[in-house]
Symmetry: C2
Subunit: 151 residues, 2 copies
DNA sequence: TTCCGTGCAAACAATTTGCAATAGA
DNA sequence: TCTATTGCAAATTGTTTGCACGGAA
């Protein structure tokens, strides 16, 4: 369960009905499947794969179909509630928008390690200055081997 | 055609029979399909998708099957001739090992932009020091919007 | 009531694998 | 010869889509 007071959508604290309210506030219908998906995402609070999100949402709404999760995630992304991260070989990951922390994924155990955003600000600035390329640090994951898996 | 004198496998200049020789030198059988795949990779000289590599190799060895390209790339990777890069949504990319330049992929036009390796050395050091996570900068691509596609 | 959204099944793309035939060393 | 490697087809995985029904607004 997400601790009370933790920042969620748009930086507001999370409340039980936030999911339905947020959906309506962003101009989406608050259907049971969508509420389940968004609640699961709020409750998890981190960066998660579609499969894991499906499993969590199905605890709230049994019978919910994985295709619905993908469609819902796409809707949430379009209206700015969620965003997705590409993580190398593995499936892409979902999280709340605004939580634009960079993540690193272990190539061995698939662990997701958050990276302080400041760690890449020089890189982003340098790329913009030298090549005009506008990096989107929230859209990709770094890869390597985590401390646990290192020999 | 790759210009004479350009660095290829192990930093040596590329020569017509290099593919077969390199395969044998690394303990692999130099079969026609493998020679075709490695020649295509040498000739291209850059970072390329499996589908593109298949097309190039089929110009040398018609009828070559895509599954063989995947298997060959895996072999080349195991023996240290090639390496692969994960590039966000798109398919993963192949290149010669030792060419560990970081690349950035445009989310809009899929252009592949090389990034000087020095651009991430601070990030790699910082991650190692602060979290023990050993980044592999050659294994993932940065993502963002290239100068051409920026508004 | 009127569409939007859902479940389902099927399509899809990228990649891997089992198997019998083939070709290097 | 004798095993590594190939082509082919089929399985896998992650994700998207067409369609007819059901439920929000």
């Amino acid at each position: 369960m997400r601790p009370e007071g933790t920042k969620a959508i748009d930086g507001r604290p999370w409340a039980p009905d936030e999911a339905a309210d947020a959906l309506r506030a962003h101009g989406c219908r608050a259907t049971r499947p969508r509420v389940a998906v968004l609640s699961a995402l709020l409750e998890h609070g981190g960066t998660i794969s579609a499969a894991e999100l499906t499993a969590l949402a199905q605890e709230i709404e049994p019978g919910l179909h994985e295709a619905t999760v993908y469609r819902t995630v796409n809707v949430l992304t379009e209206v700015g509630i969620a965003s997705h991260v590409h993580a190398g070989h593995g499936p892409s990951l979902v999280r709340l928008a605004g939580d634009e922390r960079l993540v690193a994924v272990c190539e061995n155990c698939r662990a997701i390690v958050p990276v302080p955003i400041g760690a890449v600000s020089d890189l982003v600035d340098g790329m913009a200055r030298q090549t005009g390329f506008a990096l989107e640090p929230g859209h990709f994951a770094l890869e390597g081997v985590c401390a646990e898996c290192a020999p």
